[in-house]
Symmetry: C2
């Protein structure tokens, strides 16, 4: 935050400025979700990686805003798809305005992101973010296809996470090197950093869903459980459980048949098999790979800030 | 069709080829809507306008496929937004697979369109289609904002039509001149042709919704009426009606309170006030402007084909 604070203020101005439209509902609805206290993690990654690459200029501002627009568009569509009611403690846009505007305003923000990129004028940035966008929606569809399937291999689940979450982290970081014109080696290194960070971030998110700390973040405990979402803690507990326990997970997650007390029982099983603890251990592994991905860059303020992001993403589990 | 038939076969191959994905549901669902007998009107416009501009090459193939992907993405999202059950006589994707994959596969096709444009490599084409995409979603949101409002001025309604429908027609035509490198005058002329054609097309569509021919096209008569959609025939009948009639439209469309016999009564009112006939007359006006927009281009096979498209769009009303 200290490193990129000034840039982030400009990014926020650009976001407010570029969500304007002839249709008043667009800034209203987009403003609700954009203002609702998101961490701006992805745009910050673009800001910090351009800094790491020694770039001096203003291109990172617009492109960081474009990254946040893509992220926001996908959140709006996710909330419709998941029928979510709460995001960061606030009522979701689909609850306040209905599904219809949420879908359409998501489409608008997505198009607006591409307009900003076109204005920036780099085909390479457009390539990276168009690819990431396609991969994100593939990941979301793959997640739908595996929903309720407690038996999927851990690798398959990680593929989903790499696509639906980590692809945008990877792209947000890669374009830092693209903007700075640093060439393929640095681009690949930052993409790998972003991808591993994104996977670690999602695995911690999966764990937080079953953690008492959720409430303090304005989220409800057990949302994933109620939606029948297969996440890493469940995959681990399912594999480590006995026949009765597997039947329990198959009923609750597989068939989404749940009754009172099931969530408490699930929490106890996750505890018994160290599933939450070990999910965080898996996240640490990806966090370590992310850190090492920065090895080719010189030490300094920017690199330290990016390492801090890795630590922040994992430490928020505690 | 004769003019661009060979190219259209290549476009269809490109479409099938580029909707493949690691997530099997994507080609399955996208294939359903893409194969369901659409007219491929928008990609044909790109093919015919490149021909009109004397372009020789293959770039129009991929870009026409990109145009169709953007159109298909917006159809998928529209059917979710409108809660439609039928499209071109087939069950819609949202009925067959649910809203969730329809939203996500739409997002995928939209991203894929941008990937194709990036591969093509023209920032100008990207600019035109990114702008069109933003305007389309603005138009859809504006339509939501005016839904059920029978009192809106005709001009306001035409703004919605120009945005939600005509913007993609305009962009599909403009990129013909961009591909051919013909400069701003030809680009503007083709954009104007496409925009006026698109408005004419939508006004005829509005009229067909209240016409007995709908059934022969595999559509249901009165869908717009049941959804409380304000369209040009209703706007005209509302303005030309007496107090009782206006109360009728306000109840049925404004409040969406409908009972048996209302659709029949609505059809009788539309007939009494020549609202269907005069909507087609309005469409003719835009059709005439579209034709004149082609004036600066030399006569020949391509120009005749584009004039035929205008005639086809209007004649299908009869």
């Amino acid at each position: 935050m200290q490193l990129v604070g000034d840039d982030l203020i400009k990014v926020n101005h650009t976001i407010l400025d570029r969500m304007h439209s002839r249709a008043p509902l667009i800034p209203q609805l987009a403003g609700h979700i954009i203002a609702s206290g998101g961490k701006r993690l992805r745009p910050m990654l673009t800001l910090a990686t351009t800094r790491l690459c020694g770039y001096v200029g203003e291109r990172q501002i617009g492109l960081a805003a474009a990254v946040e627009f893509i992220h926001t568009a996908s959140l709006l569509h996710d909330d419709v798809v998941d029928e979510s009611n709460l995001r960061r403690g606030d009522a979701t846009a689909n609850v306040l305005w209905g599904n219809q505007p949420s879908v359409l305003v998501g489409d608008f923000l997505f198009s607006r992101a591409f307009q900003i990129m076109v204005q920036d004028g780099s085909l390479e940035v457009l390539r990276v973010l168009a690819n990431a966008s396609a991969v994100i929606s593939e990941g979301e569809v793959m997640q739908l296809e595996t929903l309720n399937n407690v038996g999927i291999p851990e690798e398959k689940y990680l593929d989903v996470v790499a696509a639906k979450t980590a692809a945008l982290f990877a792209a947000a970081c890669r374009i830092g090197a693209v903007i700075a014109g640093r060439g393929a080696v640095e681009e690949d290194a930052l993409e790998a950093f972003g991808r591993n960070l994104g996977i670690a971030f999602q695995l911690v998110d999966d764990t937080l869903d079953y953690s008492a700390q959720q409430a303090t973040l304005g989220k409800t405990v057990g949302d994933d459980f109620r939606e029948g979402k297969v996440t890493l803690p469940v995959l681990l507990a399912y594999r480590r459980g006995d026949e009765d326990e597997r039947a329990f997970w198959s009923r609750c997650i597989g068939k989404c048949e749940q009754k009172d007390g099931d969530l408490d029982h699930a929490m106890a099983l996750l505890q018994r098999h160290d599933a939450l603890h070990d999910s965080i251990e898996r996240a640490r592994h990806y966090g370590a790979m992310a850190r090492d991905g920065l090895g080719i860059f010189p030490d300094g303020e920017a690199k330290r800030a990016l390492v801090d992001v890795v630590d922040f993403c994992i430490e928020r589990a505690y």
